[in-house]
Structures are given as structure tokens and as C-alpha cells.
């Protein structure tokens, strides 16, 4: 018994190696989101251009859409604007979900949607505007429900408002073809897709 005890470290190490071996052949970035194949969570958030108008999940239905989480504060998102604008010109429907960073009212910070609108307009005029509309998530509630870990992230949503793909990081000419395949499938699939 005592003798066997001295082989425990070896056994533990061999078990670990098995995991490391199988881990070598899978992509750590490829993490399935718990939301895939689930409908978009319910929300009701203001449109950046007309803050009095509230956008809901129903507004995104009807056409295959890319829901792009972004913010002015995020350099990668800004770098992505150019390519997304090209996609819009090719006819891809892109809706922005604006990630508002937390402000602390105790320090006198305030969030002002009108200032944000002007800032966003400046930026998009300069870099290109890929967005059909921008949803402002001031309290980050939808962003939380979607399980967003950072920006930029993009969700591919089918005609019925079901999330079909979750992409972490920027969309660029290198990784677009993979998403495009699914996008075209969904478009051709018509409205009878689940």
C-alpha cells in the first residue's frame, strides 16, 4: 500500500498529459456560446439617432443581421469600422450595440446620449458608417445577457431573431469568409429556417 502511494504523482501526471494532448488539437478561442440556437434575449433600448424611439428584439427580425458590439473607447472596434462598412455596401445588414462604459455618478460623471451621438457621428463620418442603427445599452443589460466578454464581438442573428453564431474579436478580411458561409446559408435558407 505504502509502495503504491509513491506512484500517485506519476498517475496524476499521466492523466494530466492526456488532457494536454487532446487540448493541443482543439482551438481554445472556439468557445461555443450558451446562447447559440437561442432567441435574442428580450430588450427595449433607445436608438442612438432618436433616443425617444425604443428598439426591441422584434425590430431585428425579418432579415439576417449582424449585431456588432462596439464602443468609441475600443481601438479594435474603430479599426473594424472600415471593413464592416464595406460589408454594408455589399448588402449585409449590421446593427450596432453600443457598449457604454460605466460612469460613476458619485464623482459627478454623467452619461449624456446627445454628446455620445455627436461623438459617434464624428467618428463614423471619418471612418465609415456600417450601421443601420445603433442601440445604446447604457446599463449594459443586453450586453450582460448576451454574455459579452469584451468589444468588439459580433452575433449573427437569423430572420427569426435566433442567435446562430458568436464571434469574439474583430471581423476582418481573413476571418469573414467563415462567417460569410453561415450568413449566406441563412439567407438562402429562407424564412422556413428554425
Amino acid at each position: 500500500m505504502r509502495k503504491a502511494l509513491f506512484y500517485v504523482p506519476l498517475a496524476a501526471f499521466l492523466a494530466l498529459s492526456l488532457f494536454l494532448l487532446s487540448g493541443l488539437f482543439s482551438d481554445p478561442r472556439d468557445h461555443g456560446s450558451a446562447l447559440i440556437e437561442k432567441p435574442l434575449p428580450a430588450f427595449s433600448l433607445p436608438d442612438l439617432q432618436q433616443p425617444t424611439r425604443l428598439v426591441t428584439a422584434a425590430d431585428l427580425k425579418g432579415e439576417v443581421t449582424l449585431l456588432n458590439v462596439w464602443g468609441l473607447w475600443c481601438p479594435t472596434c474603430n479599426a473594424e469600422l472600415g471593413f464592416l462598412t464595406e460589408l454594408r455596401q455589399q448588402g449585409v445588414r449590421i446593427v450596432g450595440l453600443y457598449y457604454v462604459q460605466p460612469v460613476d455618478a458619485a464623482f459627478g460623471d454623467t452619461f449624456d446620449i446627445n454628446t455620445l451621438r455627436l461623438d459617434v457621428q464624428d467618428k463614423l463620418a471619418e471612418q465609415g458608417d456600417p450601421y443601420l442603427l445603433n442601440i445604446v445599452d447604457e446599463k449594459r443589460s443586453l450586453i450582460f445577457d448576451l454574455g459579452v466578454t469584451g468589444a468588439p464581438e459580433t452575433f449573427l442573428i437569423d430572420r427569426n431573431g435566433v442567435i446562430r453564431h458568436h464571434h469574439v474579436g474583430d471581423i476582418n478580411p481573413q476571418n469573414w469568409p467563415k462567417i460569410q458561409q453561415l450568413y449566406q446559408q441563412l439567407q438562402q435558407g429562407g424564412s422556413d429556417a428554425p
Binding site: F19, L20, P28, W73, F107
Partner: protein
């Protein structure tokens, strides 16, 4: 041409490491002196050849030789010369070359400094080191050759060094860290040599101790610098992220710390033998595992090098041979070894055992937290991530018993200690610690600061108990002059423990009292934070050698008086198209003022992040103090004197 010289030198080095792995081990197996005597010159030559190879790569960077693929990918003609040289280890291939340079450096150091060891043992130690060397040289040459050419179509200019790495901290962080990782190979070689020979006496521990101390010292400084660098360069004011690669460096450190304490027991009392050997194997195995995790791409991390499954496969195979082989040897040999020493429940042995238990629990927590997402996914259970709250809460609970034991252990004798004589002095020091902790906290007027109170209490307890122990020693040795009789390693322990106290206080205070504010500011605007007024006085365009961007100047006032002037930058590196934050930091022992410049907004105005972080310096100063403790311990005369005595008796035994 020079690059080919470097490549060739590396090939010769691989051949030499093969000689080093085979002949001395064969010689010590057969008991023949000849092959063993080959070890020393082979080890030294191995280091010299690697140095030539490393110098060749440095030269290629120096002259902007973009026909070398690695140079073209990691440098640029506009890069200042000092960053061109540090770019040598800025990416995978070059950092592996640095790794083997250090490995051969440690091997040569062991060869030169182990004169006093019995010849057979020298052969075993150097042979095992040679074996480790073979693996890494083969990996460099076959899987990640830094001397590959881009000929005939070479780029006119290079792709530039990752801007994150263009910083002073980055110049010395990887070398120190690698010195630590690779240094544990020496402790490992001593352990394997002991397993091969079947001798685990106090001498073994005494020889292994200074090497382990040296490796631990480098690792401590390396981790400290990494944390300091992240704080200055990443612009979020954080100093530890529980990133998989940070964790990969923390695990060998925790086990190495446990090993240092366990070696003390084995040296002084001749017990804990199998335990110490296992820790020595584990410390190096975790260094190797770290290298695997960083370079194979099984985990997502900000540090991960470009991923390539064949590299990962090679490293995994190497890991299996080295770690699997040594653990098998451990199973075969170790069960026959019995410890003779007897000790009571309340003795220093048991308290040091407690130290090991807590350090290893911490290692296990980091290990599971780092690899659990991998296990989870490979078992088909989907992706999960484990974040800061998991690590922070468990470490917080582990710190309590650990610090309590740490204060107590130096007071307790080996073998057996009566608790009555300790009761009075220790309770006095405990009351002192309570008064100190509550006193410091009362200056902050926040009764709800549990974490800060806990940290201050633990820190004050460790400090008071350590001072008390010195005072007790002084009383025994006849006053303050008697303290000069204390061994250097005792002072090393004192410094290390005080460093730990400082670290705990720093972490708890920073976590509790840091305040931050995201603001939008125009020129002339000011913002108030924790009694400091930050006024934005100027923003102008930057014009660096290989970057542009903006710089902001801020004036800081407190009670109407100017405290300091801050200069924060946001750099844009056009070649790599990367944006970098150079935070402005004004450091004092009691607090840091920290400003990071963000995006330019319309107006014109700027987004800024402003922090006041109390005691954050203490975290790094604590780590430096620990490393200093290691250095002082290393200077202890007995590591040299007794080794010399043993050499004599060893020679007699041979005669």
C-alpha cells in the same frame, strides 16, 4: 554569414549536450572517472557555443539584417538600438534561444562550482542537466530556428517589435523569469542524481539549497517585474490578472518556496526526504508545464506566443519523458527510504510541514483555476472561464492560517517545543500587532474595510513576531552585538518574512482603498479624487522614433499646493497598427497617483482614467525584500565552508 555561424554553433551545442547527457551518466553508472571528467569541459563549452549563437542573433538585430525571418518579424529599422537588442527575446524563437543560453549557463555554473562534490555525483548531476539540455536544443533547432532566412525575397523593412514589449521592464523581465524557471532544472538535477544514487542525506539538501535559493531569487524578481510592467504599460492600474501565463510563473514559485522550506528540514533534521525530492521534481516540472502552456496555445492568454500544434506536441513528448521518467524513478526508488528523525506535534518540523501544505494548496488552486477550463472543454462540457473572484477569495482564506504559522514558526524549536514559555512574549507581540493594525486603519476612517483590517493584522503579526524573534535571539546571544553571530541565512529568513508581510499589507490596502474615475476633460478642466485635484494643462502630438500619438500634461494639487506634474502618453505604432498606453505614475510609499490617457473625443476633449492607489508600491517592495532575503541567505558561509570540509572527507573516501 554571421547568422549561419550562429546556427552552426547551435548545432555543435546540440551535439555537445548529447555528449554531456550520455558520457557522465555512463561513467557514474560504471564507476569510471574518465567519462565523468568529460562533463565539466563539455558543460563550459556548451555555454560558450550558445553564447556565440546568441551573440550572432543580437548582431543580426543590431545591423537590421531583415534577410533573417525572425529579425524581419520582430524588428524595424526605426526601432531604437536598445529595443532592437531586447527584440532578440521578443518572440518565440529568440526567447527559446535565450532559454537555452540560460540553461547552458546554469549547467556551466554547476560544472564550475561543484568541485567539492564527489565525482560520481557530479557526473550524475551534469548528466541529468545534459539530458534536459538535449531536449531544449533539439526543440530550438528543429521546431523554432531563429536563424531561418527569408532569402531570396527579403523585406526592405521589418514588421516591428510588439509595442507592448518596448519598455524597460520588458528588457529584463523575461531574462529574470527564465533564469528562475531554468534554475529549477538544477534543483531537479540534484534530486534525480540523489534518486539515481539512492542517497538522501543532509549533504544532498545542503548542496541543493543554494541553487534552489538562486533560482527562486530570480523567479521572484522576474514575477515582480512582470507585475510592475503590466501596471505601467497596460493602463488599467492592475498589477495581477490571474492570466494563465502569470499563473504558470506563480506555480513554480509557490512550489519553489515550499521546496526552500522543506530543504531546510531535510538539511537540519534529515527528514521529509521523499517529500523534498518530490517538490524538487515538481518545481521544475511546473516550469516545463508553464513553457508548454505558453508555447502550445492550449490556453487563451495575452502572453501566448503564436500557436503551432507540432511545437506543442514536441514539448508534450519532452514533458512526458522528463516528468514521467522522473516520477517513475521516484516511484521505483523512494518507497524504500525511511526517515529516522522523531519529532513532537508542536515542533518546527510540523510547522514547516504546515507551510508546505498551505503553499501546495495554493499551487493546486492556481493549477485547477488555470487548467479547469481545459479539462471542462475536453470532457465535452462546454467552455467556461475562471476569473479573479475565484482566486482572490481562496487566496484570501489561505493567507490567514499561512501568515499565522509564518509568524510563529521561527520561535519554535526543532523536535519539540513547550508552548508555555512562548505564551507570554507571543501574546505581547500579538497585542502590539493589533494596536498597530487598528491604528493604521483608523487613519482611513472606514470601519467597514474588512479586507484592509485583515491584511494589516496579518502583516503586523508577521512583522511583530519576526521582530520579537530577533529580540529573543539578541537576549540569548547577549544583546545587540550578539546579533552579529546570527547566520546570514537567519537574516535571509527575517527579510523574506518581512517582505511577505509588506506584500500582504500592500495587496489588502490597494484592494480596499484604491479609487478610480473615468473622466472626460478639456484643457483646463480639473477632477478631484481622494483629496487630490488633477488639472489637465496641455495635450500635444507626440513624435517618437517609431510611434506617434498624443501626450497629456497634468498638474496635481492637494490642499491647494502643487504635488506633482504628470505626463501620460497614448502612443500609436504605425507599423504594427497598435495603440499603447504609457501611464503617468507618481509614486510614494503610501500611495500612487496614476493617470492613463484615453481617446480624443469631440470638443476637443479627452477621456482619462485617474487612479489613486494607496500602498501599491508595497507589493513590489515586498517582493524585492523577499528576493533580498534570498540573496542574504545565499551569502551564508556554511554553503561554502562545509562543502569544502565534505570535499576533504570525500577525497579521503576515494583514496
Amino acid at each position: 554569414m554571421i547568422a549561419e555561424v550562429g546556427h552552426l554553433a547551435l548545432c555543435f551545442a546540440l551535439a555537445l549536450s548529447l555528449i554531456l547527457a550520455l558520457f557522465p551518466l555512463y561513467g557514474s553508472y560504471k564507476g569510471a572517472a574518465g567519462p565523468v571528467l568529460l562533463a565539466r569541459p563539455a558543460a563550459v563549452l556548451l555555454f560558450l557555443l550558445t553564447a556565440v549563437s546568441f551573440a550572432a542573433l543580437c548582431y543580426a538585430f543590431w545591423i537590421n539584417d531583415f534577410t533573417v525571418a525572425y529579425v524581419a518579424n520582430n524588428s524595424n529599422s526605426l526601432l531604437p538600438w536598445y529595443y532592437r537588442l531586447t527584440a532578440v527575446w521578443g518572440s518565440h524563437e529568440g526567447s527559446m534561444l535565450l532559454w537555452v543560453l540560460m540553461l547552458s549557463g546554469w549547467t556551466a555554473a554547476v560544472a564550475l562550482l561543484s568541485n567539492s562534490l564527489p565525482l560520481i555525483l557530479q557526473g550524475r548531476i551534469l548528466g541529468v542537466l545534459g539530458f534536459v539540455n538535449v531536449g531544449f536544443y533539439a526543440f530550438v533547432l528543429l521546431m523554432s530556428n531563429p536563424f531561418e532566412r527569408t532569402l531570396p525575397f527579403f523585406p526592405v523593412d521589418g514588421r516591428d517589435l510588439n509595442p507592448l514589449l518596448q519598455d524597460f521592464g520588458m528588457i529584463i523581465h523575461p531574462p529574470l523569469l527564465y533564469m528562475g524557471y531554468v534554475g529549477f532544472a538544477v534543483s531537479f538535477a540534484f534530486a534525480i542524481a540523489a534518486l539515481l544514487g539512492g542517497r538522501f542525506d543532509a549533504n544532498w539538501a545542503r548542496w541543493a539549497r543554494p541553487w534552489t535559493l538562486a533560482a527562486w531569487l530570480f523567479l521572484t524578481l522576474g514575477i515582480m517585474l512582470g507585475s510592475w510592467w503590466a501596471y505601467n504599460e497596460l493602463g488599467w492600474g492592475g498589477w495581477w490578472f490571474w492570466d494563465p501565463v502569470e499563473n504558470a510563473s506563480l506555480m513554480p514559485w509557490l512550489v519553489g518556496t515550499a521546496l526552500l522550506h522543506s530543504l531546510a528540514v531535510t538539511e537540519k533534521r534529515g527528514t521529509f526526504k521523499s517529500w523534498t525530492v518530490l517538490l524538487a521534481i515538481a518545481a521544475f516540472s511546473l516550469s516545463l508545464l508553464g513553457a508548454f502552456l505558453v508555447r502550445s496555445g492550449v490556453l487563451v492568454s495575452v502572453h501566448a506566443f503564436a500557436t503551432d500544434p507540432s511545437r506543442g506536441l514536441f514539448l508534450l513528448a519532452f514533458l512526458l519523458v522528463v516528468v514521467g521518467g522522473s516520477l517513475l524513478l521516484y516511484g521505483l526508488r523512494m518507497h524504500a527510504v525511511r526517515s529516522q528523525a522523531r519529532y513532537q506535534l508542536f515542533s518546527r518540523e510540523v510547522l514547516l510541514w504546515g507551510n508546505n501544505v498551505f503553499l501546495l494548496t495554493a499551487t493546486l488552486v492556481v493549477f485547477l483555476g488555470t487548467l479547469y477550463p481545459l479539462f471542462h472543454k475536453e470532457l465535452g462540457l462546454g467552455s467556461i472561464s475562471i476569473g479573479e473572484p475565484f482566486f482572490n477569495s481562496i487566496f484570501q482564506y489561505l493567507a490567514i492560517p499561512f501568515a499565522l504559522l509564518l509568524g510563529l514558526a521561527p520561535w519554535v524549536r526543532w523536535k519539540q517545543q513547550q508552548w508555555q514559555p512562548l505564551l507570554k512574549p507571543l501574546s505581547l507581540w500579538l497585542v502590539g500587532a493589533l494596536v498597530l493594525a487598528v491604528g493604521v486603519l483608523s487613519m482611513y476612517q472606514t470601519p467597514a474595510a474588512n479586507l484592509a483590517l485583515l491584511g494589516l493584522l496579518l502583516g503586523a503579526w508577521v512583522t511583530m513576531a519576526t521582530i520579537g524573534e530577533i529580540q529573543q535571539k539578541a537576549a540569548q546571544l547577549g544583546g545587540i552585538p550578539g546579533l552579529f553571530k546570527l547566520q546570514a541565512s537567519h537574516w535571509g529568513m527575517v527579510l523574506g518574512h518581512l517582505g511577505f508581510a509588506m506584500l500582504v499589507v500592500g495587496i489588502a490596502m490597494t484592494k480596499t482603498f484604491s479609487v478610480e474615475k473615468d473622466v472626460r476633460m478639456k484643457i483646463g478642466d480639473s477632477v478631484e479624487l481622494n483629496g487630490y485635484t488633477f488639472m489637465l494643462s496641455e495635450v500635444y502630438a507626440l513624435n517618437g522614433p517609431n510611434y506617434g500619438g498624443q501626450a497629456a500634461e497634468l498638474e496635481v494639487f492637494q490642499h491647494g499646493e502643487k504635488v506633482t506634474h504628470l505626463h501620460a502618453e497614448k502612443r500609436f505604432y504605425p507599423v504594427t497598427r497598435a495603440v499603447m498606453t504609457e501611464a503617468a505614475v507618481h509614486a510614494r510609499l503610501s500611495r500612487d497617483l496614476y493617470v492613463a490617457l484615453g481617446e480624443e473625443l469631440s470638443g476637443p476633449s479627452w477621456a482619462l482614467r485617474v487612479y489613486v492607489k494607496p500602498y501599491v508600491r508595497w507589493i513590489w517592495l515586498g517582493a524585492i525584500l523577499m528576493a533580498l532575503g534570498g540573496l542574504v541567505s545565499l551569502s551564508d558561509k556554511r554553503y561554502r565552508r562545509k562543502a569544502a570540509v565534505k570535499a576533504e572527507t570525500g577525497a579521503k573516501a576515494h583514496a
